[in-house]
Structures are given as C-alpha cells and as structure tokens.
Amino acid sequence: MFNKSALLALLVAVLLGISAIGPHLQRYVRVAGVFRQPRNTLVPNADHLLYIDDTVHCEDISYHRESNQLFLACEDNPEGRFQWLPPVALFRNSSRAEHNRGSIHVIDPQVRRRKQTPSACRPSML
C-alpha cells in the first residue's frame, strides 16, 4: 500500500513534528512541576520568618505605597474553599458559601509582636 518513499516521508514528518513540539512539551512539563520535588528555603534566623495573625486563605495582597500598608482579601473560613470555589470549578456544596463572610485585612509592615503557643513547635526551616 505504502511504498518506501511514502513511509520515509511520513517518518520525517513525524520526527519534524516531535522536534517542533518537543521544546513546548519540555516547558509544559517544567512549568507544571511534573518531575519537581518541592524544596524549602533555609531561614536559620527565627526572627526572619513570621506568620501573620488572622490571615486565613488570603489569595491576594495589595500594597498601598502612599500609606505603607498592605491590604489582603481573606476567606477566613478554612474549610469553605474545599466545598465551593468557582475559580477552580469546584461546586460540591454551596450552603457555606451562601453565608460566608470573608474580610479585608490591613497589615502595617513595621509592627510585630511575640507570641507563645502551647501547640507543637513549627520549625523555621527544614
């Protein structure tokens, strides 16, 4: 049915196709992190990594330079997003979302305080 010339042409076309999309496939795999093992930045000084109180599931921050304040939009509810979240097309149960009241938070970058907790220590680095 196919002579040698036609088969050769088909093979060349396939190889050319693979070579054309190869770089795109490589980038796709790299961006998706398919073969990546997540790592941790070492922060040996405990004063150099702080947790911000009352900032649960805050997707975005806006820095207002004129007042040197950070504004965050926070969900506050640590469970709701795993039941109903349109940005990831998740629609399992909308009852909590109907009454959810997220919030807007303000952070002054210069303010800090020390806090002691009875729960397990959270290491500042791994």
Binding site: G33, Y51, I52, H57, D60, I61, L70, N100, H105, I107
Partner: protein, 331 residues
C-alpha cells in the same frame, strides 16, 4: 517555642452584609477625600440561587456563582470599610483579579472562558486555548438599585491563555500573570481606548499567579533593589487532586526579576534578566502561594545593608508569612 508574628487588623464592614467569597484585591488612594483614604476593589464570588431554579436546598442543587467586583471606601487608620457599590456586567464572567484605574474604573481578568465541565478541563490543561480576557470596566458611583446599573465594559486584552493576576509594573506598565503558562505579560495601556498592548513577556519555570512590582524606596546610585515579584506553585500538576483536600500540601516558589541588576545599571528589558528564586516552600509553612509583595527596610536600621520583607500569601494558606530577605543576594 516562641515564634514571632506580625499582626493584621480586620476591617469591620459598613453597609455590607455579604456573602463575600474573596479573590483578587486592589487599593488606590482617594484623590478627593479630606482625610487620607483609599478605595478598595475586591472580587466577590456570590452564590446565585437563580442558577438552581425550583430547588429548595443546597443538597438538591449546588448553586453556581454570579461573580462581581465590590467597591469599598476606607479612611486610613480607621477600623471600618464602607461599601460603595457592587459592580457586575455580563463581560465579568470568571473574574480572578482586579486593578483599579481610578475611583470609577478598573481592569478585571476572566481567567477562563468556560466555568465548568469538560471544556473547562480542556481549557485548564491546553495552552492553545487562548480564550481568557482582561476587561475594562467603568461605573457610576451613585448607589444603584442593582449591581449592573450604570456599568459599561469592553474587552481590553484577548487572545492569551489563562490571564490571571493584575498589577502595576514600572511606570506606565500593567502586568498580567498568565498562571498556567508560567508567564507574565508586560503591557501598556492605550490612552485612546483603554486597551492593553503587550510589549514584553517574562517566563518562569513554574506557574505564576498575582505578580507585583517592588519599587525600592531606598534606591540610590549604588544600589536599586527594584524588580518584579512573582509567586507560583512548585507542582501545579498536583492541583487536579489537592483542591478538595484540606490536609494536602501545595508547594510554593517565589521569583524575583531585578530591573536594575548590578551588572547593568541602565534601563533594561526585563525579559533579558534571569529570574531568581527568592523563596520556596514545600507547603508546610505556606500552602499554594498566589501573591508575593516586597516591602523595603530602611538601610539605616540594618547597618547599611539592603533588606526587605517578603510577604507571601496563598489561596489555601493557613496564614500569610513574612520572610526577611537580603536584596543584595538577588540583584
């Protein structure tokens, strides 16, 4: 064990009872207020009962969203935030992030064309699906009877895959994070018709989300730490599984692209600079980073060294974190 925390202040709503299912946010100064004040623009995914007509319970039918943008006003230093109005329009379909232009207008990204279903799954994974848009919206300030009254909108940018985060870049720039593509578009806004034209593209080796730009307030002739700050996921491939699991870990990567690197003090093309990895985490300290912002620290407080606080937060993070970074390491 002691660990330090920074405090956040929660603002009390005035004239707003919700629901408020949050996403992107932007803040601009109020140019007309006698007291220092800001306008706050925030995306709100509002469950819509009309999407389940005839149903009486959430178990019978899961409501879908009629997403919109809320506009608030806040007197700086006060404890309250007052609702000005809701803004909705048919072109605001799958809003992700918002960028205010002035108190009466903003840009908003629609990160996908399809809201759910097999075509949404295809759009999520298939880079040639260039169906996302950035919309320019103008609205009247007066309190309207409905969210759509007095609102006009038009497409400002289209033909790109997965437009997601919006921010201001260097002077005159608007920057758009294209999440799944791991790319940040640098654009200019037309003064004639408010559309956006892309002039440069930055590529990261991870997904990206809400980019930001750090303008170093302590820049001098010797050192300028200004640059783009971009948060993303270490293993985006996992989100197909983790978005329904409160206990899952989604690792994060934060990139920094200096725009005044030490080896080139002139104005540069940002895409010529290799992105630096400024912070990464396996998800135990910070899950699913979506935004990172740098705030400079006065060098006089640091013995002349150039440090900054890197604030990172995420869609599923239990708390935002602040990491102290030495900019001299990354510029």
């Amino acid at each position: 064990m002691n660990w330090q925390t920074k405090s956040s202040r929660r603002l009390e709503f005035v004239n707003f009872s919700g629901p408020f299912n949050t996403h992107g946010i932007d803040v601009i100064s109020d140019p007309d207020s006698t007291k220092p004040a800001v306008y706050i623009f925030a995306v709100n995914h509002v469950p819509d009962p009309s999407t389940c007509a005839g149903s009486t319970t959430h178990q019978d039918c899961v409501w879908r969203s009629s997403s919109r943008v809320e506009v608030f006003h806040h007197i700086l230093g006060s404890t309250t935030v007052s609702h000005v109005r809701s803004v909705a329009h048919p072109l605001i379909s799958t809003p992700n992030d918002v960028l205010a232009r002035d108190p009466y207008s903003f840009y908003v990204t629609n990160d996908y064309f399809y809201k759910e279903g097999p075509l949404r799954q295809l759009e999520l994974m298939f880079w040639p699906a260039r169906w996302s848009t950035t919309i320019f919206v103008e609205f009247q300030r007066d309190s309207p009877p409905s969210a759509t009254d007095g609102v006009t909108a038009k497409v400002a940018l289209e033909g790109l895959y997965n437009q997601n985060g919006l921010s201001r870049g260097r002077k005159g720039e608007i920057i758009i994070g294209r999440a799944g593509a791991g790319a940040v578009e640098i654009g200019h806004i037309s003064a004639e018709n408010d559309t956006i034209s892309v002039v440069d593209t930055l590529y990261m080796d991870s997904t990206v989300d809400n980019p930001s730009y750090f303008t170093d307030p302590y820049a001098d002739e010797m050192f300028d730490g200004s640059g783009y700050v971009i948060a993303g996921l270490a293993r985006a491939i996992d989100i197909l599984d983790t978005t329904t699991k409160p206990e899952a870990l989604d690792g994060s990567m934060v990139w920094f692209i200096p725009t005044r690197p030490k080896d080139n003090r002139g104005v540069i093309k940002a895409s010529d600079v290799t992105p630096r990895l400024i912070f990464e985490d396996d998800g135990k300290r910070l899950r699913f980073a979506t935004t990172a912002v740098l705030v400079g620290i006065d060098p006089k407080l640091e013995g002349g060294q150039r440090w900054a606080w890197l604030f990172v937060t995420g869609l599923y993070s239990k708390a935002a974190v602040a990491v102290k970074v030495n900019l001299e390491t990354f510029v």
